[in-house]
Symmetry: C2
Subunit: 153 residues, 2 copies
DNA sequence: TATTGTTATACTCTATAACTATA
DNA sequence: TATAGTTATAGAGTATAACAATA
């Protein structure tokens, strides 16, 4: 480490000013997301589901027969990452994979009975978690926040 | 891989429905943050600064003499991570580290002249990038979005 | 004993390139 | 030649535990 002795003696500020960062959308979005994801991990630990795994199960549940490439496009996940995620969910027997008759390269994804049950439980947990994460907001503010976030991506 | 042949032939849906996910604050926050961070990485590549590195330089610049533990608390970064980040910035000679006279365990961080120059350039880049990331929003909407995000964390 | 900062380590996330099999 | 999915690999982000120096 390169530390140097200086004169006059160094002194640390007592209150930290991060007002510039607080004016940035990126900084605030990152901090808020990080807080919500931490709550997600905590609450969803019992079901052993990460945010992206929940998203995958949700999309498959609402779109039986969806293919990995469709999932990648919809969730902005890269193919190599999705392959690993699907392998884990498959290993837990939460989904089934069947080759598409019309195009043997593609795979049709469906939830197993266990997968559908777990998704239903996860949705209950997510709903509660979301309410807690947004407890400082009114219902109208939450609606506004979500609409504005969607305009960004 | 465990793929099974099924009857009747599998079929992939043409349009994907992710309406449930779109109702979730966490999902939308993550997608929006991801989009902004991608733009940040792209625009800040020329200055070789990652989001957290920019945050660190910004806080040090506005709080000369700040200590690593203060940075950790303010930016929600864990000490081992900050140590590595500071080592990289130090190696690039963007900051100076001096032991605090009143408490020899603590370190006073300051920007070097090069660090101050780089921060000034980065602030210009960030300002433009932020405007582009939020181009779908009015000024009032952006202000509202930031205020609501701050209520979350 | 408690705190500051560091080191070591490990696990996850993300990204790229190269490969296969099918089309 | 292009596409769907996989494998291999590497880099970055994040977490915990253990440590040294200082208080």
């Amino acid at each position: 480490m390169t530390t140097t002795a200086i004169e006059p003696p160094a002194e640390a500020p007592s209150g930290i000013d991060s007002s510039f960062l607080k004016t940035l959308l990126g900084y605030n979005a990152r901090r808020a997301t990080s807080a919500i994801m931490a709550l997600f991990d905590e609450r969803m630990a019992a079901l052993d589901l990460k945010p992206v795994e929940f998203s995958i199960l949700s999309v498959i549940g609402n779109n039986p027969g969806v293919t990995p490439s469709q999932l990648c496009a919809e969730l902005a996940v890269l193919p190599p990452h999705l392959t690993k995620l699907l392998a884990r969910l498959d290993k837990r027997q939460l989904l089934t994979r069947a080759v598409l008759a019309a195009d043997k390269r593609a795979i049709c994804l469906r939830l197993s009975a266990e997968g559908a049950t777990l998704l239903a439980q996860a949705e209950v947990t997510v709903t509660q978690l979301e309410a807690d994460a947004a407890s400082a907001l009114t219902g109208k503010q939450l609606k506004t926040l979500i609409e504005l976030l969607q305009k960004i991506y």
